[in-house]
């Protein structure tokens, strides 16, 4: 315990901070990809629907670890080609992109399901009110779909938080990697990894609380109707 109170404890906490920022960045990227993916899946064009379907199928079938490696090494190759000289992609950027890519695939399924659950009459009401398709989607469908998507979306975000630990394999010093480094230095691996586990538990518990709060809020807003 004294071990974690020393500078090593700070190193773990710094790692936790990286973990949280990585989660938030991947969440932002993934939400955008999720909306794009859901739009593709709900599109009238068969080709777009196929692209959306492939996106989810590929991510479902391949371990996140492999996707992180592919984007890390592939990103370096792509950037080098673009810049005309050797450029190494940052571990953080590669990790956030890879996890965002994975998150987006699951989020697109969640959004598609939620949008499908909004009654058809709501679309029609938007048209009757003279709203354009885009305006009706943004003003009428999306707010209702968001409420329906929230529990699954939150759950997936908590999974994302834990999956950030995989970015440690490409050397980013987030919490899991920091724990490995500290355990090597202190020779007390169990204590250190147990400490890291405790920090992760605090993070996931905080995430769960935030999620419940958000769900309660979104339910309250619609308590009268829907």
């Amino acid at each position: 315990m004294t071990l974690l109170a020393s500078g090593y404890g700070l190193q773990l906490l710094w790692g936790a901070l990286v973990t949280v920022s990585l989660t938030l960045c991947a969440l932002a990227i993934g939400t955008v990809l999720g909306i794009a993916g859901a739009s593709a899946k709900l599109s009238r064009h068969r080709a777009l629907r196929a692209v959306g379907g492939c996106y989810t199928a590929v991510v479902r079938g391949i371990p996140d670890l492999i996707i992180i490696y592919i984007l890390y090494f592939g990103g370096t190759i792509a950037l080098t080609k673009l810049a005309g000289r050797y450029v190494e992609v940052s571990e953080f950027a590669a990790g956030a992109t890879a996890l965002g890519f994975v998150f987006g695939a699951y989020a697109s399924e969640i959004f598609r399901g939620a949008i499908g659950k909004v009654p058809k009459g709501q679309h029609e009401a938007g048209h009757v009110l003279g709203l354009s398709t885009v305006a009706a989607f943004l003003l009428i469908i999306l707010p209702q779909a968001w409420r329906l998507a929230l529990p699954a979306f939150g759950n997936q975000s908590l999974i994302l938080l834990k999956q950030t630990s995989l970015v440690s394999v490409i050397g980013l010093e987030e919490l899991a990697r920091a724990a490995s480094v500290v355990s090597g230095a202190t020779r007390e691996p169990f204590t250190v990894f147990a400490g890291a586990a405790a920090i992760y538990l605090v993070l996931t518990a905080t995430g769960t609380l935030l999620l419940h709060h958000a769900e309660a809020r979104s339910a309250r807003k619609y308590a009268g109707g829907a």
Partner: protein, 228 residues
């Protein structure tokens, strides 16, 4: 650009890893399911102590990343001299068994929660009817509750199975040469990491895709006509 020649040439190197990945997946699924049963029964137990213990178990294993659990078992346990001198040490220092122990415990928490939910979803009236017909508690469980719960849990469990196969890629972080481990090795030897990991991705995709196809067939075979 992507070199298809390298992708093709690296497959033989990765195929050795496939055997290990499949072996790990099967053992983890087996032990995970066996451990999930007591977790699920405890979760639904009327005794508050039992159900609380099960809840804590599930909370810990679902709240902490699997890689940390793998490290706790593989690197962590050796910290204790008592573990190092015990008869279990040959098992506990073997990365193969460490991965199986960590991921089986992890999987049992997810599967346990799933089974517990499925068992709660079995209509009470059916259980009461079975009891009224004179079936013992154990017999009711065996002939009514478990078959119905298994059928209800199967779609979510199929998902679990795929996630488990993907999670075995963590083996590569503790020196094992599963598909990912073999890919890491090949990447460092060929200096073409991008192509190598794409080849590994293709292998995983084929594995999980055929597996989910098989599981869907199983779901269809078990589905009762008229339902869904």
């Amino acid at each position: 650009m992507l070199d298809l020649g390298i992708i093709r040439s690296v497959f033989p190197d990765l195929l050795g890893g496939v055997v290990l990945s499949i072996k790990l997946s099967l053992l983890i699924l087996l032990f995970g399911l066996l451990l999930a049963l007591p977790v699920a029964f405890a979760r639904n137990a009327t005794s508050p102590a039992l159900s609380r213990a099960s809840k804590l178990y599930i909370l810990f294993f679902r709240g902490v990343p699997a890689i940390i659990q793998v490290f706790l078992v593989y690197y962590g346990l050796g910290q204790f001299p008592a573990v190092r001198s015990s008869i279990l040490w040959p098992v506990l220092r073997d990365p193969f068994w460490c991965l199986i122990i960590a991921l089986s415990l992890n999987g049992s928490a997810y599967t346990g929660e799933l089974l517990a939910g499925a068992m709660r979803a079995v209509p009470r009236g059916l259980v009461e009817a079975a009891r009224a017909l004179g079936l013992s508690r154990a017999r009711t469980l065996q002939t009514v509750v478990v078959p119905l719960a298994v059928r209800a849990a199967l779609p979510a469990y199929s998902n679990e199975v795929i996630l488990t196969v993907k999670a075995t890629s963590l083996a590569s972080t503790i020196t094992l040469l599963d598909v990912t481990g073999a890919a890491r090795l090949a990447a460092s030897q060929t200096y073409a990491p991008y192509e190598v990991f794409i080849a590994a991705g293709i292998i995983y995709f084929v594995l999980t895709y055929s597996l989910s196809y098989g599981l869907r067939q199983l779901e269809n075979a078990l589905a009762v006509e008229g339902q869904h």
